[in-house]
Symmetry: C2
Subunit: 458 residues, 2 copies
């Protein structure tokens, strides 16, 4: 029995990693080779990434040719590049020529243009065309992430003929669970799943069993929309057509999972005030990390200086009643939190289509109501706390009233700005936070001091 | 040519939705039926959700039996329940009996226990057993999300025999792209993909072509780990075994996409200060929304009262130098932002395994360094701004120094607390924000007033 649960699997991975290093240090290459035979390519890739750089190429050369390609495709792009530099020229070509076109396009994106040109010129003709095709499309579109290795057939073929054809093609094609039916000018006319094929009687033709209502995307469709389409229709693969509706490639479900995860990370980072470019934060150096974070902090620092300047302008009021300062963090902080909640749900709702066809007005109105309700609850609590802290009802009422006003304002700003930025074709997740903070802080402090001055008669 | 790009597809969906309502209002049932024939089940489900409640059951009854099940599985659980109440008894049974067991278990989770018991007792035997099996496992585990409708075969079967068997079974089984090979006591011994089957020669046996190193999970494995395993190994389905390593079900990749999205939404909501229970925020009522949000706001309000109390205790200092109050939002705000960045990357890193085997100490030390670097840059800027605002170097230096100290402190708190909460088996995403805010606000204000008093000699 070799089925291994995933818990023990992660222990197994660590064991493989340390064993591999030990065997290589002892120069026991046969032992290392034997160790890796039952291991999955993605786990071998991780083990190689964990080795000291000097051993990575040695470990890689232990692998059988086919497995080497699979392992290489799973390596981090930094390790991929390091290995390329250590390989002999022929080894480089062997690996790069056999990678799947979408993984190769990803690698070429990272390599210097000079090396890409040289490698491209040495690929076999079919591989060169496939790669050039992918590299010709914009980043983050269906064209860039698709694989041109699909199976397309004519609708006059019978099931028996199709099965024979698949047997011949399956070794070179990445995915064979869907077969695409095209006409003489390569237009996509239908789709047949391997399941349909297997359960149909042998003498039928593809035209008889194919589904004609095909869900597909264009080469310039954004990758996030590609992912959403696959998710919505529970597909294993999605055909990509060009402007003339000719089939040019296929996006597979495993790529979609990675795209959705990357998009979620970008959203989370944006909400946390960081830029993300899809790289692993924990593997980037400290200077890059600081650069990624400082832009945002600067924007927020400038925001805060505006608030500070307003408070400074109220120095006269503060000198008469210093205790007013004690409530600024509470008002500004709570306002910021209410605004953050509203913008979080609206941004996530826009990105996952949870909002669907609710209009902006409807959502903002609802958030304003929720903000008013929350402001009332929190305002009453804050008022009593303020009274307990300093014993003057006038100040306490000013704090409570300000909190209600600020909560409503924050909810409106938090829900309206994402819609505004989306209408302006800016990423709501990236743009909203500083503007919401600015609006809430600046207007919040102004509301507070004005209400306090009215009530206290200063 | 019926291939339709996804852009025009969403317009098409809206068209179907409004057309359907129009036809139903005119009582043109034949027209409505014809309209829905070429539409995908998930799109029909959305169109039905968009109808007034009185029309939903009428529209649903237009569908052919098989399609009705598929559409029903795609409906929101609220609409599913509303329809159940309107159906006649036999209709209910027809639909519920034919749903796939995992979708049915999801529906039963939402229904009152009394109705579930009644429905369960009326299901056919196989369906009842399948549902009871799933409902017996904990929520959010592999056991609950798996489907028991897989194909398992013996390893002595030949390819030809297997293909015949599949033809008989494919109509009742949800996924046939992997076949599972089991021994006499139902232990999982290997796996054969439909691809392997189709490309192998007919006289071979399953035992000869199967892969013996099977990746699988246990019934009590957390659903997030199930999703990560499918993602890691690029699988279309993952077998689930019980404690005795017997095959009991299969989790498919389409469920995994939804799980990863739900987990990402939970993380995003937690970072934005909201509770999430997997429901659509925009479809929950305002009272529930307020309840979901107010808990968090209260915690943060209490945090802010602590800060306020500390500022109040410094009233004497503030009365001598009211201008010090102007810098509180900047210091506390920037500290909060630096801390939020650190906790965001650590929480996301822990949840996506980006951090992998980096130790907590290593990550926290790195974040402290980054915090110091950011604090220096921002501190210098803040110092000059403070000088420009109020013209005293002593106050400006106090502001700059405080910012450096607060940035380091915030980075350490932001990166250390997620590790701490994980070690205590609490969800880092949910727990970290209020504690980080508290630590940064309270300690930040204390640091600031102490540095200011030392430098200003108050």
């Amino acid at each position: 029995m070799t089925a291994i649960g995933s818990g023990s699997r992660s222990e197994l991975r660590q064991l493989v990693c340390s064993q591999l290093q030990l065997l290589l240090e002892q120069e026991n290459l046969e032992g290392a080779k034997a160790l890796l035979i039952p291991v999955q390519p993605v786990d071998i890739a991780e083990a190689i990434e964990g080795l000291p750089e000097s051993m990575q190429a040695i470990a890689f050369r232990l692998l059988a040719k086919d497995e080497a390609i699979a392992v290489y495709e799973h390596l981090d792009s930094a390790v991929q590049q390091a290995l390329l530099q250590k390989f002999k020229h022929q080894e480089v070509l062997d690996v790069v020529d056999k990678m799947s076109p979408d993984d190769r396009a990803k690698l070429f994106d990272e390599l210097p243009a000079k090396i890409v040109r040289r490698l491209l010129s040495q690929l076999s003709l079919g591989e060169r065309q496939a790669t050039a095709l992918l590299l010709g499309y914009e980043e983050d579109t269906a064209g860039r992430i698709m694989t041109p290795e699909y199976i397309s057939l004519k609708e006059t073929l019978t099931i028996t003929e199709t099965l024979e054809r698949i047997r011949a093609l399956a070794r070179t094609s990445e995915i064979i669970y869907y077969l695409y039916v095209t006409d003489a000018s390569r237009h996509l006319t239908g789709i047949v799943s391997l399941r349909d094929l297997v359960i149909s009687s042998a003498e039928k033709t593809l035209g008889e069993i194919m589904t004609r209502d095909v869900v597909c995307v264009h080469t310039d469709t954004d990758q996030e929309e590609v992912a959403r389409t696959i998710q919505r229709y529970d597909l294993l693969a999605l055909p990509v057509v060009d402007r003339e509706q000719r089939l040019v490639g296929v996006v597979t479900v495993d790529d979609v999972i990675d795209i959705l995860e990357q998009e979620a990370t970008e959203d989370i980072y944006a909400l946390g005030g960081l830029q993300s470019n899809g790289e692993n934060y924990f593997q980037t150096n400290l200077i890059t990390v600081a650069r990624k974070r400082v832009v945002w902090l600067f924007v927020l620092l400038i925001t805060n200086t505006v608030t500070g300047t307003i408070i400074k302008s109220q120095e006269a009021v503060l000198e008469q009643m210093a205790v007013l300062a004690a409530f600024i963090p509470l008002l500004v902080g709570t306002g910021g939190n209410v605004g953050a909640q509203s913008s979080t749900v609206v941004i996530r709702g826009l990105n996952t289509e949870e909002i669907r066809d609710l209009g902006a007005g409807q959502v903002i109105f609802r958030e304003a109501l929720a903000g008013g309700l929350l402001g009332l609850i929190l305002g009453v609590v804050a008022m009593f706390w303020a009274y307990w802290l300093q014993g003057r009802w006038a100040v306490s009422v000013a704090v409570g009233l300000s909190l209600v006003a600020i909560a409503i304002l924050a909810s409106i700003a938090g829900s309206a700005l994402p819609f505004l930025f989306r209408a302006l074709k800016l990423d709501p997740a990236l743009m909203s936070a500083p503007f919401i903070t600015t609006a809430v802080d600046v207007l919040g402090v102004l509301i507070y001091f004005n209400i306090a001055r009215m009530i206290l008669g200063i």
